[in-house]
């Protein structure tokens, strides 16, 4: 542990907070990957773009409500409206994608839906970038109060607190829907066995659409949170968070909902705290740009040694 004392405890606290903040965004996006994989065994490559659509829907709402000038209680109203708009836009996009690009291929050779998925991803990201924005980057209005909570020398900004709290609340609601409602039960049944679920009277198509929609709503929320935190958004913004969220889903064991959440936080921490810990080793210097490499290396390592995920007990469920 002695290496830790080379830098101040505050530094490590900041790293942990940053890791948890980005981790909660990864976790929210990872839920969509893991749920769709659970019911269809399909990597939904367009999920990163669903996340992007949510970010833009939230951006549009904030802009329409006055952008930079939103203040007072209106901030809360604006944030709630932005989140609702993002959830609706992302959910509608995902339902349309499922209907047009995936459902016709449900019984096709397994390569077909994957290619269709990557086609949707390319189409959506370039439609926004080349079709609407001409390659421009848009910036979220910084409406969130700038202050921070201080505990002695340790600081957390309100924005980061909000991000962590809001994503936990959203995940709790999702967990409740999956575990306690009839809809959630039908989703779990279809994930277990599509044929058996159909025999038991579950409307399989409805459950699949609901899976896409729920995952997409989470991704849409994540898009708004991403915009509030990182500010710049563009058509191709979903690519890297998409790959990372998928990595998170694999880390936690793909198909498992709690696994995706744990995987998301783990990946967020690995990128920040993990990278800084590696930097403590003499001779190692990984600047911030290498965080993507860390995440990717982690994905490959997990796939080599524990393809069922690092936190799962049962063997051979997937992969």
């Amino acid at each position: 542990m002695s290496i830790l004392f080379l830098t101040t405890p505050e530094f490590w606290f900041d790293q942990i907070v940053n890791g948890l903040t980005t981790g909660s965004i990864y976790a929210l996006v990872a839920l969509g990957y893991t749920m769709v994989y659970g019911v269809l065994q399909l990597i939904n490559f367009a999920h990163g773009e669903v996340f992007m659509i949510g970010a833009f829907a939230g951006y549009g709402v904030l802009l329409a409500l006055g952008g930079q000038d939103i203040s007072g209680v209106m901030i809360v109203v604006a944030l709630v409206l932005a989140l609702i708009a993002a959830g609706l836009a992302s959910g509608a996009t995902a339902i349309a994608i499922e209907r047009l690009a995936y459902r016709p291929l449900r019984n096709a050779p397994r390569l077909a839906p994957l290619i269709s998925a990557i086609g949707v991803s390319v189409f959506l990201s370039h439609l926004v970038d080349d079709g609407f924005l001409n390659g421009e980057t848009k910036h979220y209005d910084q409406i969130f109060p700038a202050g921070k909570l201080s505990l002695g020398a340790l600081n957390v900004s309100y924005l980061q607190l909000f991000l962590m709290g809001a994503s936990l609340a959203m995940m709790a609601v999702l967990y409740w829907i999956i575990q306690r409602t009839k809809l959630g039960r039908s989703i779990r049944a279809v994930a277990e066995s599509r044929d058996n679920a159909a025999l038991m009277g579950v409307d399989v198509n409805r459950a699949i659409v609901a899976t896409f929609a729920l995952g997409a709503i989470m991704a849409g929320f994540a898009g708004v949170l991403y915009g509030l935190f990182f500010s710049s958004i563009r058509g191709s913004m979903g690519f890297i968070p998409g790959i990372k969220a998928f990595t998170a889903a694999v880390l936690g064991g793909i198909g498992s909902i709690p696994g995706a959440v744990v995987g998301g936080y783990f990946l967020g921490l690995a990128e920040t705290v993990g990278r800084e810990l590696l930097n403590e080793i003499p001779g190692v210097n990984l600047p911030n740009e290498w965080k993507d490499v860390v995440a990717f290396a982690l994905l490959v390592l997990v796939l080599i040694f524990r393809p069922t995920g690092i936190f799962t007990q049962q063997e051979g469920k997937r992969a």
Partner: protein, 390 residues
């Protein structure tokens, strides 16, 4: 002599005669066209033909992976970059690690390194379900760009490497666009020959079996991991060849040339052209690479001037529409910009086409005969199972 003639006959049988007879005149035309008219075109046109040839070559490489073995590789740019950087790092005076090696020594090195990276990347994921390969290659395609950007000691980061030594044939040095075009044509023919021979071999049949049903293939005694690795490494080697030819042609090797879009271009060519089929890949390259380049030519802009009157007709309509709907749609741009604007939307079209092709014509626009039959007549076993016999 007889054996030579016999083997040539076999070559002809298994390559030339595989091209559907209705497409053969087009191939003849293209060969005649490329040889006879090579001096009729200016450098812009030759550059386009070179790019079409380059992407056709890359497409044939990816076709081995996606079309023949049924593995989805979304990071083909990684191998292209490996080839280009091998030639640039060891063959450019500005590089910190210039090895003063001849270009022709570097090409086999590039091919070897490409295949090696393919094996190293494939080794952890190929024993798993195919989906993981897709996401790992997607990530790796991006990682290689980040690595190239940050490993300044080798790649000089975004300043890039240039003054790359040109291929020297002894009697001439390849530096003209035309010479590079002939070079890529030769490379494309070589890749075509080799890949089509492998496809018809025991290895090719193993790939086909794996593509159709991995479990059954394994049950028949095929070492699936080994054959999948072989396909992946073959594709990677072809990607590296493309990179090794591209580097001296463009003479500027920098991370920004190796974005995700290269992978998407190559994948779109293979998917839209027709998986498993070389003619389809060439057609795909002509359409997907040739047309967007063509749209950006001065000739196209001059031609479009004839349609300037469309602006006078459509702009009032747009204005009227804007007043009614409170939208703010822009005016129609100047006709000379139409081609460039359209070329800008190429990836929107590619993405859409990939979905449409998968949903409506999953064997591609120009499918291989074998593949077409598979899609039209499902194997008997499956039929039996669906009828409840199996």
């Amino acid at each position: 002599m007889r054996s030579l003639r016999a083997s040539w006959g076999r070559v002809q049988e298994q390559t030339w005669e595989r091209i559907p007879s209705r497409l053969r005149p087009i191939v003849w035309f293209l060969i005649a066209f490329s040889v006879v008219f090579i001096n009729r075109f200016d450098d812009t046109w030759m550059r386009m033909f070179f790019l079409v040839g380059l992407y056709a070559t890359l497409g044939m490489g990816l076709n081995v992976v996606v079309g023949m073995a049924g593995l989805l590789d979304l990071g083909f740019v990684a191998f292209f970059a490996t080839g280009a950087y091998t030639v640039a790092i060891f063959g450019s005076p500005v590089s910190p690690h210039d090895a003063h090696l001849n270009y022709w020594v570097l090409v086999p090195l590039a091919i070897g390194l490409g295949a090696l990276i393919g094996v190293l990347l494939g080794l952890p994921v190929l024993p798993l379900r195919g989906d993981y390969l897709a996401i790992v290659t997607l990530g790796f395609g991006e990682i290689i760009r980040i690595l190239a950007l940050n490993m300044n000691d080798y790649t000089r980061g975004s300043s890039g490497l240039f003054e790359i030594r040109k291929p020297d044939l002894g009697f001439m040095v390849i530096e003209d666009v035309r010479a590079f075009y002939v070079m890529i044509l030769v490379a494309a023919l070589a890749v075509w020959f080799v890949t089509s021979r492998i496809r018809d071999s025991r290895v090719g049949r193993a790939w086909e079996a794996i593509r159709e049903d991995e479990d059954v293939a394994a049950a028949m005694g095929i070492n699936t991991t080994r054959y999948k690795l072989m396909a992946f490494a073959t594709g990677a080697a072809v990607g590296a060849i493309g990179g090794a030819i591209y580097a001296p042609f463009i003479d500027f090797v920098a991370p920004q040339s190796f974005s995700l879009q290269v992978s998407i271009n190559v994948l779109a060519i293979v998917i839209i052209g027709g998986m498993g089929n070389t003619t389809g890949v060439i057609a795909g390259s002509l359409i997907l690479i040739g047309v967007p380049e063509l749209l950006q030519f001065q000739e196209t802009a001059d031609f479009l001037q004839k349609f300037a009157w469309l602006r006078d007709v459509l702009n009032p309509v747009i204005h009227g529409f804007n007043t009614v709907t409170f939208l703010n749609l822009p005016d129609l741009p100047q006709p000379e910009d139409w081609g460039k604007k359209l070329a800008l939307y190429r990836f929107v079209v590619f993405g859409l086409l990939m979905v449409i092709v998968m949903v409506l014509r999953p064997m591609g626009i120009f499918p291989s005969k074998r593949r077409e039959l598979e899609f039209e007549n499902p194997p008997e076993a499956e039929l039996a199972a669906s009828q409840g016999v199996g």
